[in-house]
Each structure stands twice: as structure tokens, then as C-alpha cells.
Amino acid sequence: MSAPPLPDVQVTGLRKSFRVAGAAVEAVSGLDLTVQAGEVFGLLGPNGAGKTTTLRILTTLLPADSGTAQVAGADVLRAPAAVRRRIGYVGQLGGADKEATGRENLMLAGRLYGLSAAGARRRCAELASVFDLDAIADRSVRTYSGGQRRRLEVALGIMHRPQVLFLDEPTTGLDPQNRANLWTQLRMLRDGGTTIFLTTHYLDEADQLCDRVAIIDYGRVIAIGSPEELKQRYSADTITVTAEAAPDVLDAVAAELAAVPAISRAVVESGAGLGLTIRLTVTDATRAMAAVFGALAALGIPTRDASVARPTLDDVFLGETGRSLRDAGSPDGADADVEEVAA
């Protein structure tokens, strides 16, 4: 029996505060998380939740006040050089040299990580083809579209085949098609064995791209797990059925439905005229749906309309904080502002 592989990111009790206008603001307050090798891991939270600060600590850009962080087998504070050799980083600002060409950018990155000139050229050609940059590689980055630039920036982050790739809000500002392309490329990287750690404030990105998600708020993890697990743990499917029946059958319908095992909560309201609106909270929408139709048919009530709403990660956030992710946090860029003042 071989020992289980070491996690690629292990964070315990991480804290970091900044002084803003004389007062200490804690951006990361006691963060714990573990990311296994080969995962796509997402840090989901509103602006100002501490996502960028956490990423900066993990990539050696910022020292933590306390707590420990091991990345790719090395301690970020005690062995930053070892961490830097093993990680790639794609920041929110991108960081491509705009006046230089794509190829010049890639060559420099490769050489800085110790590739030989020939090795860097080979890797550059390889990535240019994977990221569809062949035709534009010798143009100045200034002329690139947003999607092209993002692809170059991801390529810059993986020139040296890092063990862990960190991305800060990688799809912010991209159109849907470019987002989908980037997701595909990140999954390909994961399949090739790269561990991927990203921050996002997009629910669908966390949901569809990530194997596991940590939802953070005010600098601490409030929920962690696979998107499916989280959604099932924190909320359930909702079925809404509109049926035709006189208001006096309300109680009978409610009693009938409450007896169905898959239904955890049933609310029946009378609507306009001969209408009933039935709202059901269920654990398994497919099974419950059949049971609901069966029960209504048994009572001789015809259904007019039915819909199922799947839970989202926003329900998880709402369940934990009482706020919606969309409304939480401060306006765009507040996270960066805190650090701006503190530096």
C-alpha cells in the first residue's frame, strides 16, 4: 500500500489584515482548506471576501500574518523559491507585456523558469498551437482581443509545466464563447495532471468547472465540498405545480402530498379563479414529480403547469449568510482597494 498523495495546497489558520484609514481590516480571518493533487478547486465568494488576498498569500506575493500554507510540497513563507518554481500564476490584471509580441512574452517566461532557449522555443510552439495563438504569436499583444490576451496569459502561466496553476478571476470580462473555451482548456490541463486553484465570483463557473468549491465570506470558509454535495447539503429542489381545483380541496391536497416520502415541505395556495399553486420542497425532483402527478390524478385534479428549480450555489451562500451572493460584498475591486491602501 502506498501512502496517499500529499495535498497540493494545505492552508491552516491563515490570517491577514490590512490597515485602512488607521483601522485594521481583516481580509483573511482563519482560513483552512486542503486541495488534492489533480483537482480543479474554486474559491467562490463576493467581492471583498478575501479571495485575491488568499491567492496572493499562496503565490508568495504577500506574507500572511499568521497560520501556515503549504503549496506544492513547500511552505510559502519558509521556502518561497521552491514554491515559485512549482506554481504558475495568472493574475486578475493578466500581466502580459503589451508592447512585446506574444512569442517574446512566452520566451521570456520560459527562460526565467530555467528552460533553455531551444526548450522554450519548443514549448512556445506547443502552447501556441494548443491555445490557438499561432497566427498572432508575432504580433504585439496590444493588438490582441480580450479572449486572445487571456489565452496568452494562461499560456504564460504554464510555460514551465507547473504542478499547481493559480488563476485569479480567470474569465472576468470574457464573452460566453471565450469563457467556454477557457473552461475546456483548463479541464484539459487538469486531465494532464495539473492542479488548478482559481477564484471566481461566478456561480456557474464554480458549479460547472470546479471539482470542489470553498465558499468564502469575510475571509473564512463557510462551506466546502463538490458543487453537487454543497447544493444537496444546503438546499433542495423546488417543484411548482399549478393545478385546477376549487379552493375547498386545499387541505386534502396538502395532506395527500405531505404523505409522499420524497417531499419534505408542501405549501398549497389558492390562486386566481379555479387555480391552485403548489410549492414543494423535495430531495429528489424526478421521483417527487411522479408522486405529485399521481396524487393529483387520484384526487381528480387536472394540472396546468409544472416546473422544477434546481438549487444553486447561491442558495448555499444564502443559507449560510442570509445574503445573496449577487448582493453581498462591496462593489467591484474593493478587494484590491484594501491592499492598495495597505501597501
Partner: protein
Amino acid sequence: MTAFAVQTGLFFRRKLLETLRQPVWIITGLTTPVLYLALFAPLLRSLAGGPAFPPGPVLDVFLPGIMVLIAFGAGMGAGWPVIWELDSGVIERLRVTPASRLALLLGTVLRDIVMFAVPGVVVIAAGAAFGYQVHWGGILLLFVLLALLTAACSATSSALGLKLRQIGSLAAVVTGAQLPLTLLAGILLPLSLGPAWLRVLGHVNPMYYAVQAARSLAAGSVGTGTVGLGFLVTGVIAVLAVCWGTRAYQRAMA
């Protein structure tokens, strides 16, 4: 050590390309000093031989002044691109690589030394055409001394850019410092023309010693105490500035 040398070379090349992509700077960098020679030197000729003007040919006094000005200008420009690079995330990205922070700084410093040396050679050549008598040993040492001054200015400007992070603040500090630094060094007009208090004030200015040494070297007197003091002060300032710049790169946050 070899990795460090490779990295320094890569950053130097990167910065040199950055300059070569902007031909405007190269043209003004070459024409401005020549214009000084053509338009300002004639004014000085009538001062020469007057009271308190240093003895010797006018160009021995004036040419080193222009050279110091070129060195100062070549170095002090380093901070502006640093701010652009902070804003576009380039520095953040480079800081996540294993590259040495000193190499990152020295790439810019070396580029700025080239940006001083090339117009410097043009000025000496033009000066020779205007009648300056070239003292080879002295001129060689003059380039070494002013390369140190360029390094000091370049590292200081990079550090200021990394600390201030705003074009406006950097411009205010650099232009604010430029006038007292250059006037009190006696770059264009020797301080010996001024009253005693001005000359005393000059001694507080580290650049004053570089200018004095440069004049001595340009006139061909190599082994003087003035030259030794100039190298000592400029060398110490350059080392301090490079340390400061490297620290600033270690801590820079976008």
C-alpha cells in the same frame, strides 16, 4: 550565479527592446545634448576668463556638465514604465517567477547605462568637433563614473515608481528634486560663480562630487583627490540605491 546572469541578460534585453520600440526617445536622447552644445556653450564663452570661472577651456567645464545631465536623465526615466508595469500586472507576474529581484532591477539599470553611454559618445565626438581636446584616460573613467551615477538614478527612480505607484506623484518628486539637485551640483554653471552659502549647500548634494570629479576627468587630471571622492560618493549612493530598488521589487504589490 549563472542563472542570475542569464536572468539579468533577459531583463536587459527586454528593456532594451522596450526602448527600441520607441524611436522618439532615441532621437530626442541624441539631439538634446547636441543642442546644448550648439546653443548653450556659446553663452559660456563670454564668461570664460572672468572672475570665479574655473580656469581652462570652456568645454572642459561645460562638456562634463552635459554628460552628468544625460546620465541623470537616462536614469531618472526608469520609474515611469515601472508604474505602467504595476498597473498591467507585469511586475506581479514576474514576482511569481523564481527570477531574482536584483536581476529584475539590474536589467533596467543596464539599459539606462546604455541610454547614457550612446548619447555620451555622441556628445564627446561633437565636443571634439567644437574644439574640445579629448583626454582618453580621463574620458574612459568619466564614462565609468557616470555609469555609476546613471545606476544610482535608475535604481532610485524604479524604487520611487514602485513606492509611489502614481505617475503624478512620481513626476512631482522627480521634477521637484531635479532642480535643486542639478543647480546645487553646478552642472550648467559652476558653483564657484555663486556666493559662499551656495557653495556650502552644494557640498550636501551627492551629485556635486560626481560633477567635480567629471570636470577633473574631462580636463585630463585623473589621479586627483576630487576624482577619488567623486567615485567614493557616487559608488556608495549607487549601491544604496540598488539595495533600495531590490527591496522595493521584493515588496511591490499591484
